[in-house]
């Protein structure tokens, strides 16, 4: 027993040493408290301008810690009271200093906002509560006042030239080669005993180039009715198909040849873009039209159909407002209506004074815009600050 006591004491000493040492060597310290983060300043809430209502925009000055890279983002809170009841409504990451609260429960009611800045380590800092803000619906979009002014001015110019045309003033319209060739193109098809192909683009009826193309179709189909030349009008859009059919039918009626109208000459192909291109290619290869009209909105299929047409030796008259497709048409077609020429076609072909008046108004508006551009450039050179002002003036919201 006497021999065991020193050993036992040694073990106890060693054990107590082991237990005591870690406490001395690795002192346990308390986790440092999260450092405070600077809150955002100047929180403002106001009715979102030029909207349909039930929306308030909140803006603030970023936390001063954002520049130090300590801020993760901002949580925007809303309440119907300035004292309590704030609830999270939206989060924006750092770098943003505004938030639009949409779909509010009601217009004309007071709402209060505050912003909680959130740090990268979970720190939080609440801003002061904003003043009361009410959402209201607006009845005029002030950001579009410039567009309204431009529209009214344009309408007045057009009306002036229409009245001038009605009084019998001669309005000079320059020769447009592509349109001057329409009669020749229809005549050639008649002589060759071959049909005319008219493709009114691939867009829907709500696109202006399609409407412009249909206006030209009316004039072309009148000529085909006169000469008794078959016309083929394949369509990609169902609505355009029904309108095109009515237009061709009415043109034949107007010429006094309703019996010559063939319902099957205006038909629907497919709404698939490449399927449509393939279908038109097939028609060109089989029917070998003497004249091809490609007028309206075109995309990637423009070159496919125009090149196929070029291989058959047909006269090709194309026109689009798509600047990316114009080079293809210029390359593959005999005549190309560029941009506004497409819209001028109806007036040019019908020679109605009222339509020519609108064309003249269009030209004068363009001259006015050109003049304004020159004045703007000169003013920008004189004072660079004016450049920002002019750009702001032209901005449409």
């Amino acid at each position: 027993m006497r021999q065991k006591i020193p050993g036992l004491l040694l073990v106890l000493f060693w054990a107590s040493l082991c237990l005591a040492l870690p406490a001395q060597q690795i002192p346990v310290t308390a986790e440092p408290a999260a450092a405070a983060i600077a809150p955002v300043q100047a929180v403002k809430a106001f009715d979102t301008p030029n909207d349909k209502g039930r929306s308030i925009t909140v803006t603030w000055q970023a936390s001063s810690d954002e520049a130090k890279g300590l801020v993760a983002g901002y949580e925007v809170q809303r309440s119907e009271s300035s004292q309590e009841g704030f609830a999270d409504i939206g989060y924006v990451p750092f770098g943003f200093s505004s938030y639009t609260d949409q779909e509010l429960p009601a217009n004309g009611k007071d709402y209060y906002y505050r912003v909680r800045a959130e740090g990268l380590k979970g720190e939080e800092a609440y801003s002061q509560v904003s003043g009361a803000a009410q959402a209201r619906e607006q009845w005029f979009n002030t950001m579009r006042a410039n567009a309204l002014f431009g529209t009214v001015l344009f309408i007045l110019i057009v009306i002036y030239f229409i009245s001038k045309a009605k009084k019998g003033h001669h309005l000079f319209i320059r020769k447009i080669a592509g349109l001057a060739a329409v009669d020749e193109a229809v005549g050639r098809a008649t002589e060759m005993g071959r049909p005319i192909l008219f493709v009114p683009g691939i867009a829907s009826i709500s696109d202006i180039p399609t409407i412009a193309a249909l206006n030209i179709l009316a004039e072309v189909s009148k000529r085909t009715a006169e000469y008794d030349t078959p016309i083929i009008v394949p369509n990609r859009d169902p609505v355009v198909y029904t309108v095109a059919q009515e237009i061709v039918k009415e043109s034949y009626n107007q010429i006094g040849r309703p019996d010559a109208f063939n319902h099957d000459s205006v038909f629907y192909l497919t709404d698939n873009q490449m399927g449509f291109a393939s279908g038109v290619d097939g028609i060109i290869a089989r029917e070998k039209p003497a004249t091809n009209f490609f007028l309206g909105y075109f995309a990637a299929e423009a070159l496919i159909i125009a090149e196929t047409g070029a291989t058959t030796g047909a006269i090709q008259i194309a026109g689009t407002d798509q600047v990316t497709q114009l080079p293809f048409f210029i390359t593959a077609c005999d005549y190309t209506l560029m941009g506004e020429e497409l819209y001028a076609a109806s007036a040019y072909l019908s020679r109605q004074p009222m339509l020519l008046g609108t064309l003249k108004g269009q030209d004068w508006s363009k001259a006015l815009i050109g003049l304004l551009m020159v004045v703007g450039v000169v003013l920008s050179f004189i004072n660079p600050a004016l450049r920002t002002f002019i750009l702001k003036l032209l901005e449409v919201g």
């Binding site: 609505v239 198909y241 497919t270 506004e340 269009q362």
Partner: protein, 212 residues
């Protein structure tokens, strides 16, 4: 009367939608959305007419044994089969039909689309050949500028002469952009004028009457 009613509808809705553009209020937005919905509904009905037209057109070709009439059989078969598979495939227990529909779309229609699109590359080559034949001063100018632009976008251009990419960029950003903007300006005014002519009933070609 047949012409007056459409003209009145166009005038009324045209003015209303123009005014709507400047009014952001809730009722104005709802009105605009309603018009869009009506357009979609009308489109839905015209699809029926369009399919009728398609079937009738090809049916006539088959009956009259026109050139390549057998292609029309393939078209009508395709329309009927895809429509049946798409409609019946929704019925419980006939899911295999929907699978077949998807497979036909993925393995037949999509590759055909791609093949057609790929043909564009060959047409571009033939069109470029025609465009770059220097038969006039304009064509020569096009050839030179096209050549510089092409050289400017490949490393070989910079290897030949360090300034080529800059010249290429200048051609694209100055004369090319200026002409593009000129065309777009005309297009914008042309669109507005066309819309105005139709709303005011000056342009009646779309009625087939040419305003007379």
């Amino acid at each position: 009367m047949k012409r007056q009613i459409p003209l009145m509808i166009v005038l009324f809705l045209g003015i209303l939608l123009t005014v709507q553009f400047f009014i952001p209020s809730n009722s104005s937005t709802v009105f605009y959305q309603t018009v869009i919905q009506w357009y979609l509904i009308i489109t839905g009905f015209t699809i029926i007419l369009a399919v009728g037209s398609l079937v009738n057109h090809h049916n006539l070709k088959i009956r009259r044994r026109k050139e390549h009439w057998w292609n029309s059989i393939a078209t009508i078969t395709g329309v009927v089969v895809m429509a049946l598979l798409g409609i019946l495939g929704k019925i419980e227990g006939l899911g295999w039909m929907m699978d077949l529909y998807r497979k036909l779309f993925k393995y037949v229609q999509a590759p055909m689309d791609s093949a057609m699109f790929a043909i564009l590359a060959f047409y571009m080559a033939s069109a470029s050949y025609r465009a770059f034949r220097a038969r006039s001063k304009e064509a020569l100018l096009l050839l030179i500028s096209g050549f510089i632009v092409m050289l400017g976008v490949v490393p070989f251009g910079a290897y030949l002469w360090r300034a080529i990419p800059d010249i290429s960029e200048w051609i694209l950003m100055v004369p090319n952009m200026a002409s593009k903007r000129g065309i777009l300006l005309g297009v914008g005014l042309g669109s507005a004028a066309t819309a105005l002519k139709i709303i005011l009933g000056i342009e009646r070609s779309w009625l087939g009457g040419g305003g007379k």
